[in-house]
Symmetry: C2
Amino acid sequence: MPKIVDHDQRRMELVNATWRIIARHGMEGATMREIATEAGFANGALKPYFPTKDDLLAFAFGHVFNQTNARMAAATRGLSGLGALRAFCREILPLDENRINEARIVIPFWQKALTDESKARLHDDAMEQWRTHLLQQLHEAREAGELRAEVGDEDIAGHLMNLVLGAQITAVLSPAHYSPDQLSAQLDGYLQLLAGGTFSSPAVEKK
Amino acid sequence: MPKIVDHDQRRMELVNATWRIIARHGMEGATMREIATEAGFANGALKPYFPTKDDLLAFAFGHVFNQTNARMAAATRGLSGLGALRAFCREILPLDENRINEARIVIPFWQKALTDESKARLHDDAMEQWRTHLLQQLHEAREAGELRAEVGDEDIAGHLMNLVLGAQITAVLSPAHYSPDQLSAQLDGYLQLLAGGTFSSPAVEKK
């Protein structure tokens, strides 16, 4: 009987190895050989899964996106409006080591997407899903009277998307002013602007 | 008599060529040979100025930063408070082809800075200069009674920095929802939140 290989499982092991290598040495320093070694694979064993480092990076981005979405689903359960929006954005913000490592995957992915149409489309589709969620949460917040700002929801969703993406850069490259605590306070400050000065963040959600 | 070479001039020509090549082919596709050709130089003529592509990228980032600062100085002349802050941020936002090309230089620079300490420091110093300017403008806005939000200036400066950096990504990778007009409206919407609903952007400054 042939050995049964769980291909999904092996792909995940590779992604986790890629991540650690990229976080350690950057995209340039991350060779396929090193990633294979880190994942405990023979060098040639990688090719069937990911013919090139580019394929691996695209898969790693998809993985970060899916992981973030899974955390968001858990964090927003039972919430709506601004509470849901806060929990949602906190999963994108680099507020712990795991999410800071996600930023270290996403930044090289952006760079690749600049000249790779399929990566650009993957990114745009993912970001559009998030924007749609934010618009829904803003709609709920309006209905509930939580959101009193006269600025339009489209513009607010734009602020939030730019804030959470910008934070990927500042958290990694300027941690002195964009630490987890500072980014968290900035998000709550922004929500306070939306609520017209009355939003107070639930302390229990702090993490 | 030896030929007089204006080294600063030659460096600028190289940076402009780098820019065009990176905008066209990305960092990976931008070879030193291509950049030399684009700038009208023999291949070997590049080495004395920039031994490696990394040196060239660091210089290009510095150039983008200086160009942006020069535009800011011109755009904010005679302004203070929220008016100055608006003009300042507009020079960072990718609101025209030139500034979109700047984003195309900055994104690969971030990626390099992830694992290159001297580039990370260069970036952090530059961003800290901007944050300091923003804090000064916010201080002026408070004094003038233009800024009524109860959120602290440090948090507001954080919002603005993340917004303008996030816009580098969204403008290039998701232009359908972050066009120049949309980013411009988002900035004005944010200023309206700060002003407590009363900020109206001077139409004459629209560009």
